[in-house]
C-alpha cells in the first residue's frame, strides 16, 4: 500500500509539471514569434553564376528525363564533370511543397538546387520568398531557344525566377482493349466502369476537367461551381465508382490492368507498360500546363544549376528529352530535329499540339476562395 505522503508528492509533481507547461505556453504567447509567413521576404537573392563544377542535386517528377547510362543526365555529367544526383521525388505539387516548406522557411532546400514545379506552385514559392531570381546573362542558350510564346507568362512576366521544363495536357488515359468508347470525362462516371477508373489528386486538374465536361469554364467558375464539381467527385468516390485518387501511380494501375481508364498526363507513355494504353483528348477539352525549373533559396552550387538549365535548352539535348518523355518541349527547333531523325513523334499531336487540337483546353486555374475549395477537395481525397 502506498502512503499518503507518496500521493501528495505525486500530486505536487503533477501540479509543477502543469504549471511549467502553462508558463512556457504563456511565455510563447507573449513573444511575437510567428511560424510561416514567408520569413525570407525582402531579401530576394539572385542565383550566383560562374564556372560550374562539383555536385548538383535535382528534384524532378518520375519519367521526365532519361536517367539511364546513355541518357541526358549522364551526358551532362560527362560534358561538364559535374556529378548529378537526379531524384524523382515529386509526385504532386502540393505534396512536394508541403514536404519541403518547413525547410524552405528556414532558407534551406534540403540540398537540392533545382526543383521542377507547375506555374502556380512556382508563383506561390516565389511569393513566399522561397526562390532565387535568375540572371538572364547566365542562361544564354535558354533565352536564345525558348519558344516566344513562353517568354512572358502571366505568373512571371520577365521569367525572373522560372525556366520552363516541359509542358503537357491533362486528359484521359484509356485502355483501348477494355474501354474503347471512353472519350469524355463524363464517360468515367458510367456505372459499367465502376471501380475501374482512377483520377488525379490535383485540385487544378480533376475538378477542372469535371467542370469542363459539364460545360462550365473553370477560368470563369465561381467557388460554388468548383464545390459542385467536387461534390460530384465525392459522390463518385463514396459510391466506389472512382477506385483511387493518384499522383503518378495511375501509370502502375494501367500497367497492371487494374483500371480501364484514368485521368492522367499526356506524356506518361514512358511510364505505362501496356500497349493498349492511349492518351485521349477529352471531347470537351483538357487542362494545359507548363512546369518550370526553379532554384530554391539555400540551393548549393547554383552555378551548376544554371549550367544544367542552359544545357537542357540546347536543341540537340532538348530533342533527346522530347524523344524520351514525349511531353511538350519549350525549346524551338525540336520538331525539325525530330523530322530529321525520322521520328514519328514529329507528327504527334500530343507532343506538338496544334491550336485546333487544344481549342477547348484551359490553363491550370486556381479556384476562388482557395482555402475552402481545397479543404472540400482534400475531404474528398481522404473520404
Amino acid at each position: 500500500m502506498r502512503g499518503r505522503g507518496d500521493n501528495r508528492r505525486r500530486l505536487l509533481a503533477l501540479a509543477v509539471a502543469v504549471a511549467a507547461i502553462v508558463a512556457t505556453l504563456g511565455l510563447a504567447a507573449c513573444g511575437d514569434d510567428t511560424v510561416g509567413g514567408g520569413g525570407n521576404e525582402g531579401e530576394v537573392t539572385t542565383a550566383e553564376g560562374g564556372p560550374a563544377k562539383g555536385d548538383l542535386t535535382i528534384s524532378n517528377w518520375p519519367g521526365y528525363i532519361d536517367p539511364g547510362k546513355n541518357g541526358t543526365v549522364a551526358e551532362f555529367e560527362e560534358e561538364t564533370g559535374i556529378k548529378v544526383d537526379y531524384i524523382e521525388d515529386i509526385n504532386s505539387n502540393d505534396g512536394f511543397f508541403g514536404k519541403l516548406q518547413p525547410q524552405l522557411e528556414q532558407g534551406e532546400s534540403g540540398g537540392r538546387s533545382v526543383f521542377v514545379v507547375a506555374d502556380y506552385m512556382a508563383k506561390q514559392m516565389h511569393d513566399l520568398g522561397y526562390l532565387q531570381e535568375i540572371d538572364h546573362a547566365d542562361l544564354p542558350m535558354v533565352f536564345k531557344t525558348l519558344s516566344p510564346g513562353l517568354r512572358s507568362p502571366a505568373f512571371d512576366p520577365e521569367r525572373k525566377f522560372s525556366v520552363p521544363w516541359q509542358g503537357g495536357m491533362t486528359g484521359i488515359w484509356v485502355d483501348t482493349a477494355k474501354a474503347p468508347d471512353i472519350r469524355s470525362v463524363n464517360d468515367l462516371f458510367d456505372p459499367k466502369y465502376k471501380g475501374r477508373v482512377t483520377m488525379l489528386d490535383e485540385l487544378r486538374e480533376t475538378p477542372a476537367l469535371v467542370m469542363l465536361a459539364e460545360g462550365v469554364d473553370p477560368a470563369q467558375a465561381s467557388a460554388d461551381q468548383w464545390l459542385d464539381a467536387i461534390d460530384k467527385l465525392g459522390d463518385a468516390a463514396s459510391s466506389g465508382q472512382i477506385r483511387r485518387f493518384t499522383g503518378n501511380e495511375y501509370t502502375e494501375d494501367l500497367t497492371a490492368g487494374n483500371i480501364v481508364a484514368a485521368i492522367g498526363w499526356s506524356g506518361d507513355a514512358s511510364l505505362i507498360e501496356n500497349e493498349n494504353a492511349e492518351w485521349r483528348m477529352p471531347a470537351e477539352g483538357c487542362t494545359q500546363w507548363m512546369e518550370n525549373m526553379v532554384i530554391p533559396v539555400g540551393a548549393p552550387n547554383t552555378a551548376a544549376a544554371l549550367a544544367w538549365m542552359d544545357f537542357v535548352y540546347r536543341p540537340d539535348v532538348a530533342v533527346d528529352i522530347t524523344e524520351y518523355v514525349e511531353y511538350i518541349s519549350p525549346v524551338q527547333g525540336v520538331k525539325q530535329l525530330l523530322e530529321k531523325r525520322g521520328s514519328e513523334l514529329a507528327e504527334s499531336e500530343i507532343v506538338f499540339p496544334t491550336e485546333e487540337f487544344t481549342r477547348n483546353c484551359t490553363g491550370q486555374i486556381t479556384p476562388p476562395d482557395l482555402e475552402r475549395v481545397n479543404e472540400a477537395w482534400q475531404d474528398v481525397l481522404t473520404g
Binding site: 507547461i21 512556457t24 505556453l25 510563447a28 504567447a29 513573444g31 514569434d33 510567428t34 511560424v35 510561416g36 509567413g37 514567408g38 502540393d94 505534396g95 511543397f97 508541403g98 514536404k99 516548406q101 511569393d127 513566399l128 471501380g195 468516390a237 463514396s238 466506389g240 472512382i242 477506385r243 483511387r244 485518387f245 502502375e252 497492371a256 490492368g257 487494374n258 482555402e371 481545397n374 479543404e375 482534400q378 475531404d379 481525397l381 481522404t382 473520404g383
Partner: protein, 289 residues
C-alpha cells in the same frame, strides 16, 4: 539521509529522463504550441491560444477515426490469431529449428516497410494469380477485386505489424515453465483446460504487450491505406497527412495528432486495467488479479 544520498536515484534516472525530455517532452511541447496557433501559411501562424483547432480538427473526420479503430482493431485480432499458434509452435515444437524459424519470421522485415507494401500491390493486383485463385474459390466475387478494398488495408496492416505480435508472444512462451502444464495434466485437466487455465493466463503479459505494439502503430498508419486502399478507406493518419502536407493547416494537424494521442492513451489505459497486466508493468503481484 544526506541530501547527496537522496539525490542519487535522480542521478541514476538522469540518462533516461534526458532521453525522454529531448525526444518526447520537447517535441510534445512544440506540437502543443503549434496546435494553439492560428493563421495561414501566407500570413504566418501566430500563437493565440486557438483552442478551437481541437474541435475543428475533429469535425468531418470522425468517420476516419472510427475506421482507424476498426481497421487497426481487426488487424490486431488477426495478428494475434496468427501469431499465437506460430509463436507457440516455434517455442515448443520447433526443436533445433527454433532459431531458424524465428529468423524466418523476422527476415522479410529486413526489407523496408514501403517496398514490402508496394510488393503487395503487385501481388494483389486485379489480374494476378492470387486474385484469380480467390475468385475460383468464391472468396472474391468474379468481377471483384482485392486491391483498393478495406480487406486489403487490414491485410496490409496485419502483415506489416505481425512481428511486433510474434516476438513478445514468443519471448513470453519461451519462458513458460512446462512443468506447470505437466502438473495440470497430473491433476486430470484436459489439454484444452491446461491451455486455458495455465498457458493462457501465464502468457497474458505477452499478449498485452503484443496487442499494444500492434494496435498503436496500426492505428496511426497511413501507408497501407494509401498504397493498398482506395476511395473511402482513408484512415486518420491520411487525414493528418493531408492537413499537414496538402492543406498546410499545421495547427489543425497538430491538434488532431494530439487528440489521437490522448484517445489512444485513454483506450490503452482502459485496456490495461481490464487485461490486468501487473506482470507487464513489472508488478508481479497484480498480474493475475
Amino acid at each position: 539521509m544526506s541530501l547527496k544520498q537522496r539525490l542519487v536515484p535522480y542521478w541514476l534516472l538522469g540518462p533516461g529522463l534526458l532521453w525522454l525530455v529531448i525526444f518526447f517532452v520537447v517535441p510534445m511541447y512544440f506540437m502543443g504550441e503549434l496546435a494553439l496557433r492560428s493563421g495561414t501559411l501566407t500570413t504566418g501562424f501566430t500563437f493565440d491560444w486557438a483552442w478551437s483547432n481541437f474541435p475543428d480538427s475533429l469535425s468531418g473526420h470522425t468517420e476516419q477515426i472510427g475506421r482507424s479503430f476498426l481497421y487497426a482493431g481487426t488487424a490486431t485480432v488477426l495478428a494475434l490469431l496468427i501469431s499465437y499458434p506460430l509463436a507457440y509452435a516455434i517455442a515448443f515444437r520447433a526443436g533445433r529449428f527454433k532459431l531458424l524459424l524465428l529468423f524466418a519470421v523476422i527476415a522479410p522485415f529486413f526489407t523496408t516497410y514501403l517496398i514490402r507494401t508496394i510488393a503487395w500491390k503487385t501481388i494483389l493486383s486485379d489480374s494476378s494469380p492470387v486474385v484469380s485463385v480467390l475468385q475460383t474459390l468464391s472468396l472474391v466475387p468474379p468481377d471483384g477485386r482485392v486491391l483498393a478494398t478495406s480487406g486489403a488495408v487490414i491485410a496490409g496492416l496485419t502483415y506489416n505489424f505481425l512481428p511486433f505480435m510474434v516476438l513478445p508472444l514468443y519471448a513470453n512462451l519461451e519462458r513458460l515453465d512446462l512443468r506447470l502444464i505437466e502438473a495440470a495434466k497430473d491433476l486430470y485437466s484436459s489439454s484444452r483446460q491446461a491451455f486455458l487455465k495455465v498457458t493462457l493466463p501465464l502468457t497474458m503479459p505477452g499478449i498485452v504487450a503484443g496487442v499494444l505494439l500492434t494496435f498503436i502503430p496500426a492505428f496511426g498508419d497511413y501507408i497501407n491505406a494509401q498504397i493498398l486502399g482506395g476511395t473511402g478507406q482513408a484512415m486518420v493518419g491520411n487525414v493528418i497527412q493531408s492537413l499537414y502536407l496538402n492543406q498546410r493547416n499545421y495547427p489543425e494537424a497538430a491538434a488532431l495528432s494530439f487528440l489521437m494521442m490522448a484517445l489512444i492513451l485513454a483506450v490503452v489505459t482502459v485496456y490495461i486495467r481490464f487485461a490486468g497486466t501487473g506482470a507487464f508493468m513489472g508488478d508481479e503481484d497484480d498480474g493475475t488479479a
